[in-house]
Amino acid sequence: MAEGGSGSGSGRDERGLRRPAGELENEVLAVLWAADTALIPAQVHQALGPGLAYNTVHTILSRLHAKGAVERERVGRAHAYRPVLDQNGLTARQMRTLLDRGSDRTAVLRRFVAELGGEDEAVLAELLHRAEARSPEGVSRPADA
């Protein structure tokens, strides 16, 4: 548990970047949400890439389970984790209804990608190609999805 610094609730990736526990929890949760099935810690570890220690991933999963953010089931000798769908949370439809009400919602909400025009698709594909050519590690995406 020492190598990943997981005991103190933070991890260090391959670039030597220290990241707070909250950010690592986000990333682990994101992997679980993106997957169709429950994942065992080894799968989560593999999906996140080589940067994080296995022990760190395991600790984060246990912590998320303790908080009730994920549920787990026994698969052989390991636990498989899946995110908990909060019954009190908003459904996608309710959220879209709230978002669509009024055209000036961007006054408050900052969205990652705004609405796109038809001709943007080709330009974006070209730009994505250029971006992938620039950082070689981008071509081989970790098989998480």
Partner: protein, 321 residues
């Protein structure tokens, strides 16, 4: 009074016309704040100057002159402002009051809507992250206007939540998701929604600044992109994440149906990706000094014009006694 009362209008005209070139003088984070600051000061001076011009006409209304205790004839004789200009200023002020009120109501409603969204999404939050099971490709920063009352919603004070759909998570790789998280976190920590709100209100007070909110909106997105690129230490990765998210969003079935609310329209995302593929932007100190000096000059003119109007009315008061 003859000239300096018109300086704020000239300043607003220049700022309104030059908002595009000006925005490229500094890194996006700084440029957004400088332009909002300049816009608010310029809009304030503009309203003040209109008020001064209008007051020279309103002060000549006999009833008001009697209450104020000054002479209408002296005021008429000494007033350098032509009645046509003065009444135009009064008319414009009335129109602007209506515009500002409409804008304030709309912004308040947007804030309340987003607050409702935050309150209803809060129970599903884990820390700052809220995942919504939805095939639409969407992610946004949801500022906390009040400490959320959710069970697990323990966020740092003054920040808010990052909302992301499963559609977005599935479209991106793990390293690309970190870009999205860092981008939205930058919005929350920068309190970007307040900066945009200030720009919108400045534009409502001064129609010459119509292009300011759109430019500030784009700059805030660019600033968050740059922050994310720094956080993951890879501009190419940041560009990739944004391009992939944009592509997925344009192909997703649950694509939002509403119009182009951003003003910058369709090219904003592609422009942001292209900017990330270029070298990091740099700021020009000299340009900041120039804008600062110009604003000080405008403020001095506004103060001087105010003093001139005060003297005018003092003159009219003494003449009566």
């Amino acid at each position: 009074m003859r000239l300096d009362v018109y300086v704020p209008m000239l300043a607003a005209l220049l700022l309104g016309a030059g908002v595009g070139p000006l925005s490229r003088l500094w890194v996006p984070h700084a440029a957004a704040r400088i332009l909002v600051g300049a816009g608010v000061i310029s809009a304030g001076c503009w309203v003040w100057a209109l008020g001064l011009l209008g007051w020279t006409a309103v002060g000549q209304v006999p009833l008001i002159a009697r209450y104020g205790g000054w002479s209408v004839t002296v005021l008429q004789g000494a007033d350098p402002v032509s009645p046509a200009v003065a009444y135009a200023a009064v008319g414009m002020l009335l129109a602007l009051t209506v515009l500002l009120a409409v804008s304030a109501v709309r912004r308040t409603r947007a804030v309340v809507r987003s607050w409702t969204l935050a309150r209803r999404l809060a129970p599903a939050a884990n820390g700052e992250l809220i995942v919504v099971p939805d095939e639409a490709v969407d992610a946004f920063a949801l500022p906390a206007f009040r400490r959320p009352a959710g069970r697990r919603a323990v966020t740092r004070a003054g920040s808010g939540h990052i909302v992301v759909t499963t559609g977005m998570l599935q479209a991106l790789g793990p390293d690309e998701r970190r870009v999205v998280f860092a981008h939205e976190r930058a919005h929350l920590h920068g309190h970007d929604h307040w900066w945009l709100l200030a720009a919108q209100l400045a534009a409502a007070a001064n129609p010459l600044l119509t292009r300011l909110p759109g430019t500030v909106d784009y700059l805030l997105e660019r600033a968050a992109d740059e922050h994310a690129a720094t956080a993951v230490r890879d501009r190419g990765l940041a560009a990739r994440a944004l391009a992939r998210a944009g592509l997925a969003a344009s192909r997703a079935p649950g694509r939002p149906s509403h119009g182009l609310a951003l003003g910058y329209g369709a090219t904003a995302v592609t422009a942001r990706v292209a900017a990330l593929l270029e070298a990091p932007p740099r700021s020009r100190r000299a340009a900041l000094v120039g804008v600062g000096l110009a604003l000080v000059f405008v403020l001095c003119c506004a103060v001087d014009a105010g003093r001139d109007v005060e003297h005018l009315f003092e003159l009219a008061m003494y003449a009566r006694h």
